[in-house]
Structure formats: structure tokens, C-alpha cells
């Protein structure tokens, strides 16, 4: 008989590691581990790590899109968790001082990414930055869109040719 309890996220080694920090609600820890796994396994980020922040009573995640990219900081919150602007300001303030806490973190991007987790494990990422950050240039957005389209077309072609090779054999 399958042991469902052993499959639960709370049995994940990372969860057990961060629960040893002794702060943060169970919901927040679950969301953090969920985001951690998403970044590691789905998005395939580099150098993903979880860091505790006692001052804000939260854990945040650091990682890089590629090995050469700047480090980004992410905070996981639950969909129904109450947040105030004061909370976001506090988190922003502390992330600005992060170099002192973690000197090995290296070159970081400005601001913080909020990862909102739903009950069905959907995660939506929003970048939060202090100050006025203008939106991306529409030409750049268009270029990225075309690049993504070409990438998926190429992936589809590779998949098709792989399927055909399997069929022949």
C-alpha cells in the first residue's frame, strides 16, 4: 500500500533543513520549498539556495537563470496570506542590506521577486522594486516573443524528428 505521507512535501529533505531554522509558518515553509523545487527542477536555475531572515521572519531564495547571470532574490507567499505595503517595504529594505548578511551572494539584481503560490501549486512571479521602474520597451518585448516562438518551433521540430527516428527503428 502506497504510503502517501512519505510523498508529502514536509518529508522533503529541504523542508526538514529549513524547519530547523525555527521560524516562519508551516504555510510559508511549504510555499518556499515549492518555489525552490520549481526553480531547481522546472526552470533549471543555477545555485539555488534558501536563506533565513530573522528580522522579517521569512525565508528567501537566491538563484541565477544561468551561471553567468546576476543573482535574483525571491520570496514565496501563499495566495491568501495577508501582505501589507509596510511588509514589502521591510523586505525590500533588508534585501538592500543582503550583501552584509551574505557576502558570497555576489552581484544581485535590484529588487525582489514575489512568488505567489496557489493551493493547486501554481506559482506566479512578480518583481517588486522600490521606486519608479518604467515598463519594458515594446520593441524588446516583441523581440523576446519572437525568440520564444522560434525556440518552441525548434524544440517541436527536434521532437518530431526524434519521434520519426523511434518509429523507424
Amino acid at each position: 500500500m502506497m504510503n502517501y505521507e512519505s510523498k508529502h512535501i514536509e518529508n522533503h529533505p529541504k523542508y526538514k533543513e529549513i524547519s530547523d531554522y525555527g521560524f516562519g509558518s508551516a504555510k510559508h515553509m511549504q510555499s518556499t520549498v515549492l518555489v525552490y523545487l520549481d526553480l531547481c527542477e522546472c526552470k533549471q536555475w543555477f545555485n539555488v539556495a534558501i536563506h533565513p531572515c530573522k528580522e522579517c521572519d521569512i525565508m528567501f531564495i537566491s538563484g541565477q537563470v544561468t551561471a553567468l547571470d546576476r543573482t535574483q532574490l525571491i520570496v514565496a507567499v501563499d495566495c491568501i496570506q495577508a501582505i501589507q505595503h509596510i511588509d514589502m517595504e521591510q523586505i525590500n529594505t533588508y534585501t538592500n542590506q543582503i550583501q552584509i548578511c551574505l557576502p558570497n551572494l555576489g552581484n544581485q539584481t535590484r529588487g525582489l521577486t514575489l512568488a505567489v503560490c496557489s493551493s493547486d501549486s501554481t506559482i506566479v512571479y512578480y518583481k517588486m522594486t522600490s521606486g519608479l521602474i518604467p515598463p519594458e520597451n515594446p520593441d524588446l518585448t516583441q523581440q523576446k516573443k519572437l525568440k520564444r516562438k522560434r525556440y518552441f518551433q525548434k524544440a517541436k521540430k527536434c521532437q518530431l524528428s526524434a519521434d520519426m527516428t523511434v518509429d523507424k527503428t
Binding site: Q84, H85, S130
Partner: protein, 288 residues
């Protein structure tokens, strides 16, 4: 009332600017956009292109008052029954206008005559020659030189018909010309904490050089433009909220989604515990 200040009519806490030149100056010189809410005189019965008056946001009005650029007057005075004095002043003004128009009409007709004098001479000569021809045919002895003689016409001899009163043009005013300039009004915005926050945010962003309009269409407080809204799309949807106002993650997604769908940044604006304005930009990120 101050020299060079723009007159703003207030009716039931709504501020209006009726003068077209003032509306242009507000936009070009002071970066105040407002919204045209009146019926277009030439294109009535449609809502696509509206006209004067320009309605100002309460924040815009308060800012202009603070900067000493406007004077407020009671707009309800324009709706009252005119006094005998005003009626007589109108009659005098109409009479003067008629005399000016009459003089201009006469001048116009005289200029037309001068312009077409050659044609008129040719026409009169042809008519004269026709009469002479008829007389010659009747047996009268007419010398050929009479046919060739040119007419000497004096412009002042022409009878110019005067302009009639029923043909005179009457101006319908958009701005009330009879408004008493010594009427002043108290303006009470902002009063509540929420109004104060909105006004502080509006003023701060305006002083940074942005153009601001109402953000109701996009679910925010203001739309913030880097330049004139006729030439640029807005960059930000400013949402004013108290510093300790509780939101849930879902609310963040709602606001963020609103902004990302229209390629704008959502700007959360609050006043912190140190009485400083704080801005947090919220942008959807495609983490990949």
C-alpha cells in the same frame, strides 16, 4: 483676483475651465490634462469628440491653487436669471457688434467691387452698346466712336446695400463674459486621509515631471505618462493605498495582471511611518 491667473468655475465641487486658451496653457505649460466634458458646438449628438469645458480632477485643482495659478469663482452665478443691468449691457454690446459688422460688411462689398471693377465696366459697356445698337436699328444716327468709348466709373458712386439686423452674426459664449471677478470660493479638498494620500502622490509625481490623469479605466488611482497623453502611452498605473492596508497574494496578482496585460508598471504608493512617500513597482516576470 490675480493678474494672469486662470479662472476656474466651481459647480457642486466640480471644477471647470471654460476658456479655450487657458485650457491649452494648462496642458502645454503646466502639464495639467483634465478632461473635456462638454458638447461640441459643431458636432452635436455624439460622444466621440467632446469640447469645452475642461473638467479638472480635485487633485489638479488643489495643485493649481497651491501654486497660485488659478482663481476659483462660483460657477452657479451663470445659471441665475440676468439682472436688468446685465440685459442692458448685453443690448449695448449687441448694438456695438452690429455696427462693427455693418462697417466690415460695407468694406467687404467695396473691396469686391474694386476687385471686379474691370468685369463690371465690361458688363456695363456691353449693355450700353446693346442700347446704342437698338437705337441705331430704330433709325437713330449713332456714331461708331460711341461704341468704343470707355466708361469711367467712380467706386463711391456705387450703391452699397447696408447690412440688415436680421443678418447679423451673434456670438454664443462658452466662457461667461458677465462673471463678476470679485467672486471667490472656498476649496476644501483634500480632507480625509485617503484624499490627502492621493493629493500627495499626485503632487509628487507631477513635480517629477509626469503628466497624470484619472486611472479609473485601468483600475488604479492615476495613470502616469512620461509626456503628453496624446503622444505617449502611460508608463505606470498608480495605486494609492494606506501603508498598513492588508492585501493578499491574490490582490497582488490582480493588480499585476492588470498592468502586464496593458504593458504598464503597477505602482503601489503609500506614506510610511516617517511621513515619506514610498513607491513599489510591480512588474510581472516571466521566470524561465
Amino acid at each position: 483676483m490675480g493678474e494672469g491667473r486662470i479662472r476656474v468655475s466651481v459647480v457642486k465641487d466640480c471644477a471647470y475651465v471654460w476658456n479655450a486658451e487657458d485650457v491649452c496653457m494648462l496642458r502645454e505649460k503646466h502639464r495639467i490634462v483634465g478632461r473635456l466634458v462638454g458638447c461640441h458646438a459643431r458636432f452635436a449628438r455624439q460622444n466621440i469628440q467632446l469640447s469645452l469645458p475642461l473638467q479638472l480632477l480635485p487633485e489638479e485643482t488643489s495643485l493649481l491653487l497651491l501654486k497660485g495659478m488659478v482663481d476659483l469663482v462660483d460657477g452657479t452665478i451663470s445659471y441665475r436669471t440676468p439682472t436688468e443691468q446685465q440685459k442692458q449691457a448685453l443690448e449695448r454690446m449687441r448694438e456695438k457688434t452690429f455696427q462693427d459688422q455693418e462697417h466690415l460688411a460695407r468694406q467687404q462689398k467695396r473691396d469686391d467691387i474694386v476687385k471686379n471693377l474691370d468685369k463690371i465696366k465690361a458688363g456695363k459697356k456691353a449693355k450700353r452698346n446693346k442700347d446704342l445698337e437698338e437705337r441705331r436699328s430704330a433709325g437713330e444716327d449713332i456714331d461708331q466712336s460711341q461704341f468704343d468709348e470707355d466708361l469711367d466709373l467712380d467706386i463711391d458712386s456705387f450703391q452699397i446695400e447696408p447690412l440688415r439686423k436680421e443678418n447679423m452674426m451673434i456670438q454664443i459664449f462658452t466662457e461667461d463674459p458677465w462673471q463678476e471677478m470679485d467672486q471667490s470660493l472656498d476649496w476644501t479638498f483634500p480632507v480625509t486621509e485617503e484624499e490627502n494620500l492621493r493629493f500627495r502622490v499626485f503632487r509628487d509625481l507631477w513635480e517629477k515631471g509626469y503628466y497624470l490623469t484619472s486611472g479609473g479605466k485601468f483600475g488604479g488611482t492615476f495613470l502616469v505618462y512620461p509626456g503628453d497623453p496624446l503622444r505617449y502611452h502611460s508608463f505606470y498605473i498608480a495605486v494609492c493605498l494606506p501603508y498598513k492596508h492588508k492585501m493578499c497574494g491574490q490582490d497582488i496578482i490582480t493588480m499585476g495582471r492588470l498592468g502586464s496585460d496593458v504593458k504598464k508598471t503597477v505602482l503601489l504608493c503609500s506614506v510610511n511611518d516617517n511621513n515619506e512617500l514610498t513607491y513599489t513597482s510591480l512588474v510581472w516576470t516571466a521566470i524561465s
